[in-house]
Structures are given as C-alpha cells and as structure tokens.
C-alpha cells in the first residue's frame, strides 16, 4: 500500500466495520518485541472500510476472542463460548456489522461460534480477505 503496488477500492465494503486486535499481534507482541501491531491492521482496514468504529476497550486493553492459546481446538467448548461473551458484548456495543480479524483463531471463533451463539448478525473477514476483496486487479498483466 505504501509503495503503491496495490490499489484498494474503498466503495465495496460499506457496512460499519470494526477491527479485532488479536492478543498475539498486539498486547503480546508489545511485551515480546517492544512493538504492538495495533495501528497497522487499522490502517489497512480503514483503507477498505471508510465507515469504521473501534470497540472499547481496544488495542492493549482489548479482550481476547476466547479461542486463543489453542482454545479453539480444546475440548472445552462451553468455557470457550462463555469466555467469548465479553467479545460479543464489545461487538454489539460498538454497532459494527463487519468485524475484521487478522488471525485464524480469532476469525473462526468470531465467525463460526460467537456470531451464532450470541446472534450478532455480523460478517467476519480475515484482514487479507478484506484486502483481496478490495484490491483492484491491474488490467494489463
């Protein structure tokens, strides 16, 4: 994006969108590497979705989706859903209808579990799925 190697169409995704901070990209990167990747994903999301709102709390204070640390694969599904109630409430309260998740685990929990369990009525996309759906394919190749 910075080098203008791709052009994004920001008219495709019109729903109010929000960005989920994966614990490993944000809070845990900040601790492990001294840099939390909080803004990068937001810059990309906003480039595709001009209508954007943040959940509260966000960034370093964000709540986990409930499926991290291998929990998506664990045989403790009721606990995982219970855990996710806070995430579900955050999404509901911010009013977004599109949630961008830049992590496989988070996306699966949001899309395949919380969306149904808590009747969120949201669309969930990977960050790269959003970019892929917004990218303009150069005509001459």
């Amino acid at each position: 994006m910075r080098e203008n190697r791709i052009t994004l169409d920001n008219t495709i995704h019109t729903k109010l969108a929000t960005y989920h901070d994966p614990c490993n990209y944000g809070r845990k990167s900040l601790k492990a590497f001294g840099h939390g990747y909080f803004e990068e994903g937001r810059i990309i999301t906003r480039a595709c979705c001009p209508s954007f709102v943040d959940m509260e709390p966000n960034r370093n204070g964000n709540y986990c989706c409930g499926a991290g640390g291998g929990a998506w694969a664990m045989p403790y599904a009721p606990e995982r859903v219970f855990y996710g109630r806070i995430k579900a409430r955050q999404i509901q309260e911010c009013g977004a209808k599109m949630v961008i998740a830049p992590c496989h685990n988070c996306r699966d929990q949001l899309k395949k579990s919380l969306n149904k369990e808590f009747d969120l009525g949201i669309e969930v996309k990977y960050l790269w799925e959003l970019v892929s759906d917004s990218v303009i394919i150069p005509t001459k190749k």
Binding site: I6, C23, G68, E79, I86, P102, S132, D133, P138, K141
Partner: protein, 309 residues
Amino acid sequence: MMYEFKVADLAEEFGVHRNTIRNWINSRTLPAQEGPGKRYAMKVSDYVALCDKFGIIPKVNMEMAVEIEELKTITTAQTGQPILQLGEKTNTLFDDPSWGDVCLTCGTCASACPIAGVNGLDPRKIVRMAVLGLEEELIESSWPWKCTMCGKCEEACPMNVEIVKLMRRLRSRRPRNLVPGPIHKGVAMCLERGNNLGIPKDDFAFLLQDLGEELAAETCPGFTTPLEVRGSRLLITVNSKEPFAEPDDMKWWWKIFYAANESWTVSADNWEGVNWGLFSGDDEAMKTIVGRIVDNLERLHCEALLLPE
C-alpha cells in the same frame, strides 16, 4: 518468643521512670537486647516474670505463642485438611520471583480475566497456588488450558507478574499423552510429516496447482502457483487447516500477491505455519519446526518470511 518494647512504653506500663528501665537493662536486671529503631526485645517468659513481680497483667503471655511442636500435633484427622509445609520446597514452576513471589494478591488479574470463576479458579488463585507449591494440583487442572494466554491479566497486574509464562509452564509440565485436544497430536504429526494434519506431499502439490488454475480462470489471468521457486523474495507458510478444509481461502493471499506483482513461493515440504508447540508448551518441538522453516528459507534463497496468520 520475644517481647518487643520501647523504653518509654515499658516505663509507662510499670509506672517507673524511663531511666529506671535503662538502668535495669544496663545492669542486666532486665535481660533485654537492643534492636533497631531504639527498640528492645526480651524473652516473653522474662516479661511475664517481671509483670508477676509488679502484680500487673501481662499484655502478652506464653499461651499466645504458637509452638512449633503444637503445630505438629495438628493432624489431618482434626482439620480434615493435609498440613501444608511451607518454606522447604524449591518451586520448580518459577524461573524467578517475578513469576509469583512478587504477587500482592490484589486480585486485579482475576477482575481482568474473562474466565475468572470457571472451575472456581482465576489467575490470582493460580499464582497463589504456585507460590504455595501446589504443583501437582495445578498440572492436573484443566484451567491453564481454558486460559487463552491472552495476557489481559498481566497488562492489568500492578506487579508485572509473569502470569502467561506460568500458565505455559503449567501446560508444558503435563505429560504429553495428557495434553487435551489435538494439539500435541498435531505437534507429533508435524515433526513426523511436516504439517499438523499429515497432508501428503503429492496431494498438497496437486491441490496448490489446481487452485492456481482456478484463480487464473476467475480473476488473475496467467496465474500459476509458485511451488518451490528458488530465489523468490518471500517464503510463505501455510496453515494446514486451509488445504485440509478451506482450500479456497488460500486464494485471497495469492490474489494480493498477483495484484502487487510480488515474488513469492511455498515450499513442498515443511510448509506448516502453525506451531502448536507454542500452545502445548513444547519448546523442543517449536525449535525443530522453526528450524525447518529457516532451512527452507536458506534452501530456496528467499529474502523474507511471511507467516500469513
């Protein structure tokens, strides 16, 4: 047991002048030792004897002291609880005091944790149990596996207790055959066959080629999947759940690469990008799996690694 006092207080208690107390101490009539902060200490028995002499009621007495012998006589039968021995055990869960000893037991972590209360446990209790040496109970508990190692508790903790490291240590102390769910099996499979789900090399290569042809027909004319292309700029890993269950999802990244005219490749072996050793607490396996990715980078002369997670 010692009775600690200040000269002025003792003088008031016995109704004598402060200098009298000092004289008694100097002449050893009152056998007391000087301590820090102008305080003195004497044996409680000496204090009680002195009180007897003056006919006053002692503020403390021997019955108030819990004798160690007495402690030993408290049996399991009397209390219904095994006696917890403190102080003699080396805590093998901690690398240093920041893992637990510095905990103030304030409970901030428990307030921050979305699953506090599940199974009657929370991060504060886990840290406390670890400090008290209840290792077996913790290793057997399923709680550290329901924790997502999200770090929310740590972010809130005023003492920067290494709660996530402790949770992971608890996981790593589980015998491997008792790791819940498929994650250890995935690690073992990855070590054996190069990916968590054991997808055979030929199937993988065929799938990637097939999907590439689809993408070319759909949106990206001329696209072919660059498998094992030496000298590509980026080496891309793959999450095995995609070729296994959601193959079309791989095309999203590919389309972006196509649009950006990126130079990239996927290796034919050891392409797994999900390192479950991180979650199962298996450092050795993690190292081996990361090492294989580095080997691929070198073998294919790539400049950078992209883990499309």
